[in-house]
């Protein structure tokens, strides 16, 4: 990017919000995703919508990419810079603008931390359920852009179930507001839901209106240990078949349990094959009844030990232990590659078997954990990115896992998004027609492909490396 363009950017946001030292660019070259990284041209902290709009218009003129970013905890590479791009950081937009008690909604800026929002609304008896593992760090803007899920997805759904409205700057620099406080709204195409999960490729989110629900009055948290992995999977299927919908039903295998125990030291047994962490919540006696039924089913499926959390703080310790699983697995090997293949819940036991197969067939250590209740697993390869041979084995194992998931009617990603990490597998799920429609939509809205380019899919022409963006960069025919 030439100095002239940089100066223009600087004059838009002011030099105090413009960073282009090597150090600053280096530390925005990654997000939570392993392996992928690229150094951006500059890092910008815009202060208002007008500045964003001007940046976007400039990007269209000068043909550079814009990569929106929150806290950078994503796991599909959604906020990793691409060639000739700038990073637009929105973490300073962190105000909760309004909590509407009569409509049970909250309006926030995109940089509000999910966990902070939850604490704030819970103070007045309200509840925002989506709880990705990184909830103490990640932003609402990132959650909306990736339609983030979490532990409570089973009963309460994911981010899209709570987004009522979005404000954004479109790829042509125009401002768009879609949705609102109406519980019902069928005016025209449902643009709002369409934006959720668009991974920063269709617009830069500047404000979000979220739905809240009353906080459940009571909850019971149950921990169960199993000597056989398959028993735990069967217990999960049986609980769902018994028409109980727990708030969460989480599964950890032996490798994960050991890593989590190394970190938390909360006394998890190291020799068991699997554990389930289940929470039921609601009102009155129903919660207790459900807990009893679940305990009965766990016992029937050979749970060796069943414990109930004594109070909220004990339950919270267990839940945050579970949330640490992904990063805790990094204790074993330098690189942890986390995937989120998801299958219909009835296929869970089969999918777990396939993952164990993959581990053996390709000689890769795979720690497995995940949201058993909604069929969303997190097989995590423990490897070393500095060794190409190891990485190759991992890639082949995941190829196999994705193929098997799709055969079972599943998908390649349940909650992390496609981003960079999974775009090569996308067509397997969507089919050629699906991907064609997606690309047409992208082209129609983002004519010059400036917003988060290269994410989800590569817009043609496909080529290795970057395209020359200036006449002088094009090599002479004879050279």
């Amino acid at each position: 990017m030439d100095a002239l363009v940089k100066n223009k950017l600087k004059s838009i946001v002011g030099s105090e919000n413009f960073y282009d030292s090597y150090e600053d660019r280096l530390v925005y070259s990654y997000d939570g995703t392993p392996i992928f990284n690229q150094i951006p041209e500059a890092v910008l902290f815009p202060e208002d919508e007008e500045q964003i709009s001007q940046i976007v218009r400039l990007a269209n003129q000068e043909k550079f990419g814009i990569v929106p970013r929150g806290s950078g905890t994503g796991l599909s590479g959604g906020s990793i810079p691409t060639d000739n791009s700038i990073v637009l950081v929105l973490t300073k937009w962190n105000k909760i603008l309004e909590i509407d008690n009569s409509n049970l909604t909250v309006t926030v800026q995109p940089g509000v931390i999910t966990g902070v929002l939850q604490k704030e609304v819970e103070k007045i008896g309200l509840f925002y359920p989506p709880d990705p593992g990184s909830l103490n760090v990640c932003t609402i803007g990132g959650n909306v852009a990736n339609n983030a899920g979490g532990l409570r997805g089973l009963k309460y759904g994911v981010t899209k179930n709570y987004v009522l409205g979005v404000e954004m700057i479109l790829p042509d620099g125009r401002f768009l507001r879609t949705g609102g406080k109406n519980m019902k709204d069928v005016a025209g195409y449902n643009l709002r839901d369409f934006i959720v999960g668009s991974e920063g490729t269709l617009g830069i989110i500047t404000k979000v209106l979220l739905k809240l629900i009353p906080k459940p009055a009571k909850s019971i948290t149950i921990l169960a240990f199993f000597d056989k992995l398959i028993d735990s999977a069967k217990a999960v299927s049986e609980i769902i078949a018994a028409k109980i919908t727990p708030a969460m039903m989480e599964f950890l295998d032996n490798t994960t349990i050991n890593c989590v125990e190394d970190y938390t030291k909360i006394g998890l047994p190291r020799n068991i094959d699997a554990l389930l962490l289940i929470e039921v919540d609601g009102k009155g006696s129903e919660v207790q009844d459900d807990a009893e039924t679940i305990k009965f089913i766990l016992k029937k499926n050979n749970a060796t030990n069943i414990q109930v959390a004594l109070d909220e703080s004990q339950a919270n310790i267990l839940k945050s232990a579970r949330r640490s699983a992904f990063s805790a697995l990094a204790r074993k090997k330098p690189t942890t590659i986390l995937e989120d293949a998801t299958v219909p819940r009835s296929e869970l036991p089969l999918m777990i078997e396939k993952i164990i197969n993959a581990s053996k067939m390709f000689d890769v250590i795979i720690g497995n954990f995940g949201h058993a209740g909604d069929g969303n697993l997190h097989p995590t390869a423990l490897t070393d990115e500095r060794d190409p041979k190891e990485l190759d084995k991992v890639h082949r194992a995941f190829d196999y896992i994705f193929d098997e998931a799709i055969k079972l009617g599943g998908t390649i990603t349940g909650e992390h998004g496609t981003g960079l990490a999974k775009k090569q597998f996308l067509e397997k799920v969507t089919g050629p027609v699906g991907i064609d429609i997606m690309m047409r939509i992208k082209k129609a809205i983002d004519l010059n492909n400036i917003l988060n380019p290269g994410k989800i899919f590569s817009i043609s022409p496909k080529c290795e490396g970057s395209l020359p963006n200036k006449r002088e960069h094009i090599a002479n025919f004879n050279e």
């Binding site: 960073y19 030292s21 090597y22 150090e23 600053d24 280096l26 530390v27 925005y28 070259s29 990654y30 997000d31 939570g32 392993p34 902290f45 806290s71 950078g72 905890t73 950081v89 973490t91 300073k92 931390i113 966990g115 990184s134 103490n136 760090v137 990640c138 890593c259 989590v260 190394d262 970190y263 640490s324 699983a325 992904f326 990063s327 805790a328 697995l329 990094a330 204790r331 330098p334 690189t335 942890t336 070393d384 500095r386």
Partner: protein, 436 residues
Amino acid sequence: MNNHSAISKLLKVLPNDDILQQCIHCGMCLSNCPTYDLTKLERSSPRGRIRMIRSVARGEMELSKLFAEEMNFCLDCQACETACPAGVKYGRMVEAARVLVDESGFTPKIYLFLKRFALRKIIASKLTLKIVSRLFWIYQKLALNKFLRKTGLLKLFSKKLYEIEKLSPIISNQFSDSLIKEEELPEGEIIFNTAFHFGCLMNTMFADINVDTIKVLKKLGCKVITPKAQVCCGSLMAHNGDIEFALKLARKNIDTFIKYDYDYLISNSAGCGAFMKDYAHLLEDDPLYAEKAKIFSSKVKDVTEFLSAEINLLKSKFKESYELDAITYHDACHLVHSQKISIQPRQIIKSIPGIKFIELEEATWCCGSAGIYNIIRYDDALLQLQRKIKNIRNTGAKIVLTGNPGCIGQIKYGAEKFNLNIEVLHPVSYIKKLLE
């Protein structure tokens, strides 16, 4: 060329690539980092700093002023280590990076002087520290400090110096090593064989806490050995880029204590305790000391750790009930983050009959003291202190307990600066008062 080879030689102080590679940049540390919270810049975060250190180590990035600034901006509070599920040893990386920064001339001369001269020549030398402290004591006794403060004379030189002078704790009338006998025996039967490390600053500026510690230990049936030949633990030097000197002190301490027979080595200073527990790791490659260091470190216990292990015995010494003011507890970084001690002190406090304990919001957030950080980076430290005082004010407590001399001094200073009427005490001093 020469410069280049000098740098590459220097790079060897950084941890090896396997250790640097351990950070998977998941970002779980961000919300716990006081400096990231201030700037919201990735380079002020543990994750960002690790990436920079790794790039320098791999020769992909040159040492720079910005790099040096971020390494020194870090409080080294190690809250990120507590938050890190992957177990990344961030503290070691940043401390190594500080050595690099100092050696390659990126640290301002005045700071380097403070770090090297003050830490090596004054703090580490018991005699010099005592002389300097005594001079300071005279200065305080003559009320020169009050005179200076009142007239604002120091302000003429530097407004900051005027503020920093107020940070200096009141020097004790008598140093604790002259008050504590080399062997102290309990009144009744000996139940525990303990040794005591009296620290450097604790000895001269917080002598009463040391005396209180001995009294409490004796009440519980401890025989306490306090070798006169012991030296400063070395933690301040190590955290400020002078690991070689710190290791000299470590060896000296090991040689001193090895002559005595004891089961626990009690420390009442979080920073010292954490560092002495780390001797085992720091000297693991030293063939002469590796084994001795392991044994030495395994016996080190923070006084709250020791008391909570003997909680029933302690309880039996309390009266039936007390009339007490509301109380809160601030977690010293070197207790909660370095030693993972946070339940123990609370358990002790809560066991006091009639206690009104109020949990402090963000209790584990650094108060800004951070070794000598509050002196060399006064403005940055003040922002953290302001936040701490606000949280303490919200509890409505009249007494704050905390287990580290640095935190005690810093919070006392903050209370005065921001007009908060509280008493700041070491838990062991509070208990001593109750046991009397």
